[in-house]
Chain length 122, copies 2
Amino acid sequence: MAMHGIVLFGHGARDVRWREPFERLAGKLRAARGSEPVVLAFLELMEPDLSTAVSGLVAGGCDVVTVVPVFFGQGGHVRKDLPLLVEQCQAAYPSVLIRCAGAVGEDEAVLDAVALYCLRQV
Amino acid sequence: MAMHGIVLFGHGARDVRWREPFERLAGKLRAARGSEPVVLAFLELMEPDLSTAVSGLVAGGCDVVTVVPVFFGQGGHVRKDLPLLVEQCQAAYPSVLIRCAGAVGEDEAVLDAVALYCLRQV
């Protein structure tokens, strides 16, 4: 049976406090996924980078890796930078299937949850 | 009765496509809020900036403005840049109450929705 890892891919920031919701999100997914690994990776300013994260998942026995961009919009980082990084990882680990999801902020249910949060602030 | 405006405050990006979920979010909130205004504002790379957005709300008759940071984490942009911008707006419009919410990505229900999205990708 295939072992399927998830990479939560965020932008990264100088302020370490920025990372906190990403850790909480990873914790929620770990609770739901049991023994299948969920890790973080960042485009810049924070570690690990995508290549290091994927390398760890492959070393841990993953056959399939899904990268989820934890971004609101599909701008240049998601549409240009990330596909290049995924391509480099795929070339480095040809025996592993590396897939990439759409940005979480494009999802209707995520936007509905954000809208409800906004309405609770007024 | 007070008129209460909402500003959805995002980072901004070079790629205009990035803005699309912010427009969808504003549309959802407008549908829920009836005649009370909901506008976008950006820290950089996109227009309008916060001052222009608040100025428009005040000109439209708002007495209270709530700024909601549409960011995942509370990094330097939300914890340092935004409070300064809000303070400048408050000084420019002393008769209007300008409030600032926490980053949407810190909300438990938003994180739950993001987690469900991630689980649907594997």
